[in-house]
């Protein structure tokens, strides 16, 4: 017997209260005059004893009640032995198909071992074949047909995802509960150390036995291109830069030939020494990238036991700088000055600013621009407003800066919210630096804003920066497939001194990068990453994904409705989003899979013992010890004690009150 919450036993200290009330407290009696004591006997002692006896019954009940309550909260349990023969047995054959199983002939070994297990099943045994990577996938139903099991095993191939033993244990626990069967699980895996979660997450259910079948050598040396860092867009070939990191796991020092390949053309090759169990970096500078989407690879030679991680794929796009349209009120030609200067001082953004008066915007084709800036707009031409709305809804972007001219209309252009303003000089109070539009811009220190704008943002909008009085400074809103930033001050120095401070430049660059969609572009992503295809299901335009094998990955229904797509295999994916934006996504396997070191045998033994391997075979019947909580019963007894106590106490009080 034990307690699951023993700290509640501290509540036993409460028994001192009734003890004090009953035994220690003095009972004061007021003498009562009576005509004659002729018929009373001097029974002082017996009277007190009788009274105390009565009190002791009440006291015992109260003590029992408190003790039982404390014990009930402490959640007592006893270990009960239960038989497990009532459950049907299910043999589960789980094959690891994570990226590391590509090493040498591990997959073949695993399939051969699984085949042997399947062949060893008795005629009426139920079995199921499952595959493990980042999740557990059933490849068959509960089967007695050995042929089906063997076919499922034969069809299995290695994938590019990581294996997760934590997810494996969680899935087995759920499976045990839902199936109600006794699970005999055979895990055939390379038992990678990097797949091991917190040991608590490995716990198995009481009706699960786990047999581990390690494949591959315990400590296989492996080298890999661990990481490649380069800009996903190239605007100027002279400024291209690529850094590749090479790693060795359980490997001796070695010399590797590193090659940079773009669109199957070798751009450069370098020799580099990788230290023992260490890392080395190699850089390629000012390499030429052809216009358009480029498929890049960094490879190392000679190949090793796991050649798939000797290649690291990345996507790079060569394009000319994109234009940003800055619309200002006619006559105020100074308005774009600060914004343009800030944006063009950072050529790595790949954005150039083109300023134009708002009155001439009717002739503009907004789709040619990365995004549009509306600085202190007044009443807008209806056609221009409609064209801008359509542009944003189709995936465009706009930065709207509100000023004195905007205040006269009282309405935020494009967004449509009503707003009011007042002259209050104050600084910024809150800046969300976690949002992509403001990442790394700082807290706008010492910037003074002369106006405070009040409005109610739409549902789904996010206030990412506020003034000191809590009024919004920068609001992020979605419109269709597009995005908008509403800045409640101007981008010149008419209603603030923002352009004169250092934080103006990173604000312009980072918000521009965000509005231009730069945050959605990465040179390479880990296998298993999901890419967004559309922002809303209402978007009727279809999306498309062409996988590494050159085949379209989406069916017709998925192309019309899917919000995202999982990039599960290594290679290049051509993704066309519902907004029409096309991109090339490079996918690489998680490099934790490149560490082929195995889990120590003693850890595996501990894992096995978390399941029903604790059970002891007794007389041919498997007995299992499980904790049986008693708190409900203790609480029931406490309730009964409370009822009896209340009856006693009521009688006692009644006697005291009657005369």
């Amino acid at each position: 017997m034990g307690f699951l919450s023993p700290w509640f036993l501290a509540g036993l200290a409460a028994v001192t209260l009734p003890l004090w009330l009953h035994l220690l407290r003095q009972y004061k009696r007021t003498p009562q005059a009576f005509s004659s004591l002729m018929f009373f006997e001097r029974r002082v002692q017996s009277s007190v004893r009788h009274r105390r006896l009565r009190y002791l019954t009440l006291l015992a009940l109260r003590l029992a009640l408190l003790i039982l309550l404390a014990v009930a909260f402490a959640n007592p349990f006893i270990n009960r032995t239960t038989g497990t023969t009532g459950r049907r047995k299910l043999t589960v054959i789980v094959l690891d198909r994570s990226f590391s199983m590509r090493a040498a002939d591990r997959m073949q070994q695993a399939k051969a071992e699984a085949g042997r297990i399947a062949d060893g099943l008795r005629g009426q045994d139920l079995a199921q074949v499952m595959a493990l990577d980042s999740h557990l996938e059933a490849l068959t139903q509960y089967e007695r047909n050995r042929g089906v099991l063997r076919a499922a095993i034969a069809s299995l191939g290695p994938g590019d995802l990581t294996s997760s033993y934590g997810e494996f244990a969680r899935a087995l626990r759920a499976m045990e509960q839902t199936s109600g069967m006794q699970l005999e699980v055979h895990l055939i895996s390379d038992m990678q150390r990097t797949s091991l979660p917190n040991f608590r997450d490995l716990r198995l259910g009481p009706h699960t036995t786990l047999a581990l079948h390690p494949v591959g050598k315990s400590n296989t040396a492996n080298w890999a291109v661990e990481n490649v860092v380069t800009a996903p867009q190239v605007y100027d070939p002279k400024q291209t830069r690529l850094t590749a990191t090479l790693s060795g796991w359980h490997a001796e020092a070695a010399s590797k030939k590193v090659s940079l390949v773009i669109n199957k053309h070798v751009i450069g090759t370098k020799e580099i020494s990788v230290p023992r169990d260490g890392r080395a970096q190699v850089e390629f500078l000012a390499f030429d990238v052809p216009y358009g989407a480029g498929r890049g690879e960094v490879t190392i030679e000679p190949k090793d036991n796991l050649p798939e991680d000797d290649v690291f794929r990345f996507a790079v796009r060569r394009e000319d700088p994109r234009r940003v349209l800055f619309l200002y009120t006619a006559g105020r030609t100074n308005e774009p000055y600060y914004y343009k200067a800030a944006m063009e001082s950072s050529p790595s953004t790949g954005l150039t600013v083109e300023a134009a008066p708002l009155e001439r915007a009717a002739h503009q084709d907004f789709s040619k621009y990365a995004f549009v800036v509306l600085n202190n707009p007044g009443e807008m031409d209806k056609d221009v407003a409609q064209a801008l709305c359509a542009y944003v809804q189709k995936g465009g972007a706009a930065l709207i800066a509100l000023g004195g001219t905007s205040t006269r209309t009282g309405k935020i252009p494009l967004a449509g919210e009503r707003f009011t303003s007042e002259h209050v000089t104050q600084g910024a109070g809150y800046v969300d630096e976690q949002t992509p539009a403001l990442a790394g811009v700082g807290r706008f220190q010492n910037v003074q804003f002369l106006e405070s704008v009040q409005f109610q943002p739409k549902a789904g909008a996010r206030i990412v920066a506020k003034l000191a009085d809590g009024s919004p400074l920068l609001v992020e809103e979605r419109m269709g497939e597009g995005r908008m930033l509403i800045f409640t001050s101007t981008l010149d120095n008419t209603t603030n001194d923002f352009p004169l401070h250092a934080s103006f430049l990173p604000f312009v660059v980072q918000s521009g990068h965000y509005l231009a969609g730069g945050d959605e572009t990465q040179s390479s992503v880990v296998a298993g990453t999901a890419v967004a295809l559309r922002r809303t299901r209402e978007q009727s335009a279809s999306a498309d994904v062409v996988g590494p094998d050159g085949k379209h990955a989406l069916g017709i229904g998925e192309a019309a409705k899917a919000l995202s797509f999982g990039l599960l295999k290594e290679g290049f994916y051509e993704v066309q989003r519902a907004s029409g934006h096309r991109s090339l996504e490079a996918v690489h396997a998680d490099r934790r899979e490149s560490d082929l070191r195995q889990i120590p045998a003693e850890t595996l033994d501990l894992w096995r013992n978390t399941g029903s391997s604790q059970t002891a075979a007794t007389g041919g019947i498997e007995q299992q010890t499980v904790p049986w909580s008693l708190w409900r019963y203790v609480l029931a007894v406490a309730l009964a004690a409370a009822i009896v106590e209340s009856i006693f106490a009521t009688r006692y009080l009644k006697e005291r009150q009657t005369v």
Binding site: R29, P31, A33, S35, S36, L37, R51
Partner: protein
């Protein structure tokens, strides 16, 4: 209350020609001029009482019986011991004083001589029996000025009482009788032997008969100041048993000694109790 007792006067006058005639039985039965009944002659009867006129007409001998109508002396003994002060809202002593007043008033109406002795462990006040003018006021004053004293002691006042009671009459003793019944009867029985009629009015508060204690209590004797701690259970069970046994013993001992005994609870209207007693007495005569 006195108005109720005046009703008894009307009953006494109507039935026995005077309250006191209903209250006592003349020992000189037959000397009264009021005819009571005829009874068949049996050998041994005094031939002087035979109604010869009836014998002449019927040739059967009948005795002619009469009820006496003689005035008698009434002596009220009022216990003023400390224990009589018990009770609420009307204490036993107050109740006993009302009772004594009613009795002397009725005696006055019947022109009987009446006297009063107030006693505790000694005689505190004595009003000599008399039927003279102003006797009622003296008696009522004696009752009114009676004060609670100390302990009860029957022996001493009864000894003195015997000195004053030269002629036969009725003695009414009003007390709570917290004493051994045998001892009480032994003390008062000499009065009975001397031809007196003796009536014991036992006045008790309901809380004395059926005490209810809410919790263990420290009880202090009103006469002795002794203290006893007792429990509600004892008061509820054993005390009541003892009290009932005491009352039973009082009644039995009194009956055995030819003494009238009547229990009066202070929660009962006095006139109702007194009427009941007189009704019982009347039925017995």
């Amino acid at each position: 209350m006195l108005a109720g007792i005046s009703g008894l006067d009307l009953i006494a006058k109507t039935v026995v020609d005077g309250f006191i005639a209903g209250l006592h039985k003349s020992p000189d039965f037959g000397f009264s001029q009021e005819f009571a009944e005829y009874r068949a002659y049996t050998p041994g009867d005094d031939l002087r009482h035979v109604d010869w006129n009836v014998f002449a007409r019927t040739e059967r001998a009948y005795l002619k019986r009469y009820r006496g109508e003689t005035n008698t002396g009434i002596m009220v003994l009022l216990d003023a011991s400390a224990s009589m002060g018990f009770g609420a809202p009307v204490s036993k002593f107050d109740y006993a004083k009302f009772l004594a007043s009613a009795i002397v008033y009725m005696a006055h109406l019947q022109r009987d001589s009446a006297g009063l002795i107030v006693f505790d462990d000694d005689v505190r006040n004595f009003v000599r029996p008399s039927a003279r003018q102003g006797q009622l006021l003296r008696l009522l004053h004696g009752v009114d000025t009676a004060q609670l004293g100390k302990r009860t002691n029957f022996a001493r006042p009864f000894f003195e009482l015997q000195q004053f009671l030269k002629r036969r009459g009725i003695t009414l003793l009003i007390s709570d009788f917290f004493e051994d019944p045998e001892k009480v009867v032994d003390t008062v029985i000499p009065l009975r032997f001397r031809g007196n009629e003796l009536v014991l009015f036992h006045v008790l508060d309901p809380a004395e008969i059926e005490p209810k204690l809410g919790q263990a209590a420290l009880l202090v004797d009103m006469e002795t100041d002794d203290a006893i701690e007792t429990s509600p259970e004892y008061a509820r069970v054993e005390y009541r048993q003892k009290m009932q046994a005491h009352l039973k013993a009082m009644q039995t001992k009194a009956q055995e000694a030819g003494i009238d005994y009547f229990l009066l609870r202070t929660d009962r209207p006095l006139d109702e109790g007194l009427r009941e007693y007189l009704t019982i007495r009347q039925g017995r005569m």
